[in-house]
Symmetry: C2
Subunit: 128 residues, 2 copies
Amino acid sequence: MSETEEDRADAWFHALSDRTRRDILRRVLSGEHSVSALARSYDMSFAAVQKHVAVLERAGLLTKRRQGREALASGDVEAVRSVGAMLTDLEDLWRGRISRMDELFAEHQPQDHEQDQEHDDRPDPTDR
Amino acid sequence: MSETEEDRADAWFHALSDRTRRDILRRVLSGEHSVSALARSYDMSFAAVQKHVAVLERAGLLTKRRQGREALASGDVEAVRSVGAMLTDLEDLWRGRISRMDELFAEHQPQDHEQDQEHDDRPDPTDR
DNA sequence: ACAACGTACAACCATCTGGTTGTATGTTGG
DNA sequence: CCAACATACAACCAGATGGTTGTACGTTGT
């Protein structure tokens, strides 16, 4: 994975690691909100909320649009999808582990494929 | 969302916000690794890597199993999926925004439904 | 015109974070 | 038995983080 890709991931996950920021992101994904409108929703100063919005913006999870004196913030669903894609990449690594376990098992028991369909205590790698 | 749910999310995203921890998670999702084996992979002290493993463990993204003097770490794919589910919940909020925009549009143009299939410059909310 | 509003940013502060070294304790191989 | 190994954890430190207040500046409504 490229170096800048890791930088983006750092910014994404750091931005999402604060519950106020996650809540802000929920609101701006649902629709545009001005920074001051957002600030009114939280029990903290306007400046604090503005800094949270700036973190989300730097991470690319949110964009701002100027309209008169207001800054309207809007969530970027493509960025959210990119974060989700990183998670599914992690899942794929796990699936690879299971495949390798299957190969190892087949190596030591290369007879029948149909026996023992029950007592499957490991999760199905193809479900979800 | 429940309070403890948000606490878990804080821990998840914070754990994932460090690239060394993401790399450790990749390795232990692919297969079990001892802490010292992991430590040998990074240009930092054993103690530093051990702390990263502890952060991932507290977040529930990894479990440790004792075998003799070694602690074998293994990634928990269910936790990774839970994080992914949070992201798709965010996407759903965005889809809701689009639905509301559609309703608003229908309200002002309640005639035909079939016109103008082209020039669709917004992403399809049902794709992915 | 001007007061109120919305935004931006700097300075400051307590706490958290990610690294270090050092020490203690259990496990294993020869 | 005991030296080497693997882990755990405490103490410490520099820098980042999340909050505060204060100041400055453009925009808007009356």
